[in-house]
Symmetry: C2
Subunit: 230 residues, 2 copies
Amino acid sequence: MDEKKFCYKYPHPAVTTDCVIFGFDGTRLQVLLVQRGIEPYKGRWAFPGGFLKMDESCEQGALRELQEETGLTGAYIEQFHAFSDPNRDPRERVITIAYYALVKIQQVQGGDDADRADWFALDEVPPLAFDHDMILREALKRLRERIHFEPVGFELLPEKFTMKQLQNLYEAILDVRFDRRNFTKKMLHFNILTQLDETTRPTPKREAFLYSFNQESYNELKQKGFRLEF
Amino acid sequence: MDEKKFCYKYPHPAVTTDCVIFGFDGTRLQVLLVQRGIEPYKGRWAFPGGFLKMDESCEQGALRELQEETGLTGAYIEQFHAFSDPNRDPRERVITIAYYALVKIQQVQGGDDADRADWFALDEVPPLAFDHDMILREALKRLRERIHFEPVGFELLPEKFTMKQLQNLYEAILDVRFDRRNFTKKMLHFNILTQLDETTRPTPKREAFLYSFNQESYNELKQKGFRLEF
DNA sequence: ACTTTGCAGTGTAAAAATTACACAAAATAG
DNA sequence: CTATTTTGTGTAATTTTTACACTGCAAAGT
């Protein structure tokens, strides 16, 4: 049955949420893509997403989709743009509210769901469905801006991480290189890291200190109007 | 007639655009509000906005509303957030895509339209309709972040302005005070200002140099990967 | 057990940016 | 002509950023 029973006096667009899921493998930024099983763009890769329910906010919708696609709950998400070109979906007028999620990549199993899902390094992302190439570009742009004001990067790292991993992450996000010593100095200067007693044993080479993000110190800092300059 | 002739298989929310219009009077940031003539929230002030047409993007819709409400065309606008609480509009489910516009206040006539429209200084904004108080807070937050990366402030000033006005503007947006000499030094250092031959005659006190924003220099700077640190 | 290899930890000196700070010149009002 | 207000301007002290090289640890190979 193709019964159309939801009627309005004026035309309404459909509204979806899409979620650019960023992960970090220790060296490179990755995004989680799902392969479309149906037309349009059947077989193409795209960001997970879906139609918004009438009793949920966009944020709730994005979190629900995230849960459905990856099993993740309570991930860090942030809305970054609504894409609304009248022809962005060939089926009907669809506006999508786009979010990005920052997840700990180890917590997400790639590709053994019903839909094929897989992680792609940023420079190996294939051509995407709909306007998702543009969505990815914008997501990256916003993440890059965001990281200057908030220490969102830690969402992408495991609880315990080495200074090297942290540096790799910043370099990957901002696409720059830092001097190792200056990076360490600067990071420690913020006073938002706790140096743990543990190290990275076993390791093939010299062991490294592990750190964890100190949310409390950061909250204090933020209250003092501090700005994370990176 | 209350004929509902636009029908869909699944429920669709209504979509509007709202526009927070910022202006600058030389001292304080202002926003343009319109007083609602109909329920709900009849008599309350709100940001101009309206329903999105099916053949326009959100940006086009926001620009159209801006034109309809203020007569302004080609203003600087930027989308900053979609507000989607299921109960934000008592009539039906309405999602609004919110923009802010930066306009030269002299170019906009306040309040002699059909709708009453008026400028309000930021600290004199009355309680607003719908969730527009939240929309204003978010708009400000985004403008404040934005001004660290792009010289958007010039959109709020006349073509020719004094260093004092520019400083007032930055102070108003960021809610901080700068040292007059250091501010001048820093601004001139960016090399995006052209010092004009003219001054502010007549003036009650000593005349001041006029400057204009130099878009070309800025473009060059941006190409070199420069970041406007303010 | 000794050597090699690779990565981790660490400090200092130079350069650049930021801050703090004061006086003289222009214009008007009285 | 005096008082008042606002503008233009420079320098020294401090802080931040940058550039840069050696030693220690652990495992693997000999």
